[in-house]
Amino acid sequence: MIDLSTELAGIRLRNPLVAASGVFGYGEEYARLGDIRWFGAVSVKGTTLKPREGNPPPRVCETPSGMLNSIGLENPGAEVAAREKIPWLRQFGVPIIVNVSGNTYEEFSELGTIFSDVEGISALEVNVSCPNVSSGGMAFGMDARSCYRAALSVRKTWKGPLIVKLTPNSPDIVAIARAAVEGGADILSLVNTLIGMAIDIKTRRPVLGNVTGGLSGPAIKPVAIRCVYQVAQAVQVPIIGMGGVSSYRDVLEFLMAGATAVGIGAGLLVDPLLPKRILADLEDYCQEEGIVNLSTLTGCAWKG
């Protein structure tokens, strides 16, 4: 019997696959395409205090082995998420991670308060890494001090497991990771998207309405693996590794780099059945390799 289950700061996951924030909405769209229970946990769309309508189009653009997006945190706001979206998502019995994004430290605290009153949330994920909003977002994640304060702001009001999602755009992700843990993070998510842009050579203008966007997809996987490999050795908390996962091999690579769970982001946009395929392939892999507990692979690339 092969055991794919894992544990993140006391949260039991049936398997290590996590629906990454931003490609899963609040699960309503995905429920029509696949089975939410294929995931070990799900992270909902970045949720802000007030509703946000998002950035002007074009919002997406394909790039070599990846894509740029500048959605701009389109979401219905914390109140609707808390009252309608999360209660609906609970029915699947899959651990729910609520990704929250604030413009200020006070907003982060308030988001912690709002979601403390909602049943069935396994963890909050502090988004200090969105590159597509003009205030807040990635600004908090580029500097150790502000990342520490953002984490601490949620920590004060939210007593459950706390995740901080890190950006790969900072020059020293290990320093930021340490600051997040010091601020109260029980788990780290990495990485969010890399800032990029594309120019339309016909119109001679930037493709995206917001000019720059976040790069995701297989193109960023080596950067993400490097980040997980470095951070996992520097901190004691478990890591949700992500960036360009499109097969079970990528999942294994993240685990070996030091991740405890692995996010699926842009890959889900191409193949909604990806988690199902990956789970089947992981089982086959464990069978062939004689692995009983998949979680024993975590960090093997540096543990020796």
């Binding site: 029509r32 653009c61 997809g217």
Partner: protein, 307 residues
């Protein structure tokens, strides 16, 4: 004002002309076999795919997402409107022109190859309901299909399903030149009256498709209000904007089929945003709220921004 995001129920869905893919059991991902690859008049390709589950579920004006090549580059699927829907044969068709990397790779497809197709996606038009609404004193309401460029292709399944029930379908079709015109004989076969316009006058009426549309509108002066036509437009955004402007203060009920840069096609990413027309605020998403919209519900291109 209620913003369109957040899955708020919307008026036009309740009107019942549009139907999304989930009513028929939801979209499926399938390895579709390429039945034929034809280069047609106008320099477009029509690829027929054996995808019985999709053919059974699809309604006219829905689309599919095609992975043009395996592996990760090109990364995203490509959206294509359905130019054929044949549930009896289990066949769907996509009609495409070579415009970029994805379609260049599609030129390498061969009969017998299989490609991953996800669909049907988006809201299509339920033709039985189209015909049922507002039947005027003269029987079925007239239908006007207005197309530009390759926008003609997805209107064919619509014409085909309306054909047996509707004696009055007019196709107005515009292209740059005679060489760029797609074959319209399929529409004529199912009984549509076809008027063609080319910008350089090399075939049909000289000028844009709004020329013949103006004539049609003028000829309908009398009976128009008692039996208002239903118009469906598919083509480049400037054409849709011009058609919408021309029909704005008339009783003609206009639906537009939109395109926007799209990633997932399934509603997950919120990428393909189109601005909602006042009094709504915020954005719709072409893949999940469209691709067909009542023209009055959306702002097309620079429309409504003082442009």
């Amino acid at each position: 004002m209620r913003s369109p995001h957040g899955n708020a129920p919307r008026g036009y869905s309740e009107a019942g002309l549009m139907e999304n893919s989930f009513a028929g059991g939801g979209p499926v991902e399938t390895q579709a076999r390429i039945v034929s690859m034809n280069i047609e008049q106008g320099g477009v390709h029509t690829t027929l795919l054996y995808a019985p589950e999709i053919a059974l579920r699809a309604v006219p004006m829905q689309f599919v997402q095609v992975k043009v090549a395996p592996l990760n580059d090109p990364f995203l699927r490509r959206p294509f409107g359905l130019s054929r829907i044949s549930p009896e044969e289990g066949i769907i068709g996509i009609t495409w022109a070579t415009v970029g990397r994805g379609t260049s790779l599609m030129g390498l497809w061969r009969e017998g190859d299989t490609v991953s197709v996800l669909g049907p996606l988006g809201n299509g038009l339920r033709t039985d309901r189209v015909l049922r609404t507002n039947p005027g004193p003269h029987g079925r309401r007239p239908v006007w299909l207005v197309a530009g460029g390759t926008g003609l292709a997805p209107l064919y399944p619509l014409a085909l399903s309306l054909g047996p029930h509707c004696r009055d379908i007019t196709v107005l079709y515009g292209a740059r030149t005679a060489e760029a015109l797609m074959d319209t004989s399929l529409f004529e076969t199912v009984g549509c009256k076809v008027t063609v316009a080319t910008e350089d006058g090399s075939a049909g009426v000289k000028g844009r498709v709004t020329g013949p549309l103006g004539h049609l509108l003028a000829s309908f002066n009398g009976p128009l209000s008692s039996n208002p036509p239903l118009a469906v437009a598919c083509g480049p955004t400037p054409m849709l904007r011009a058609v919408k402007a021309m029909l704005r203060d008339t009783p003609v009920e206009l639906y537009v089929s939109l395109e926007e840069r799209m990633a997932c096609g399934t509603g997950l990413c919120k990428g393909c945003a189109v601005k909602a027309a006042p009094p709504r605020s915020g954005y719709f998403h072409v893949c999940s709220d469209g691709p067909v919209f009542p023209a009055g519900e959306v702002l097309l291109g620079g429309e409504g921004q003082g442009a």
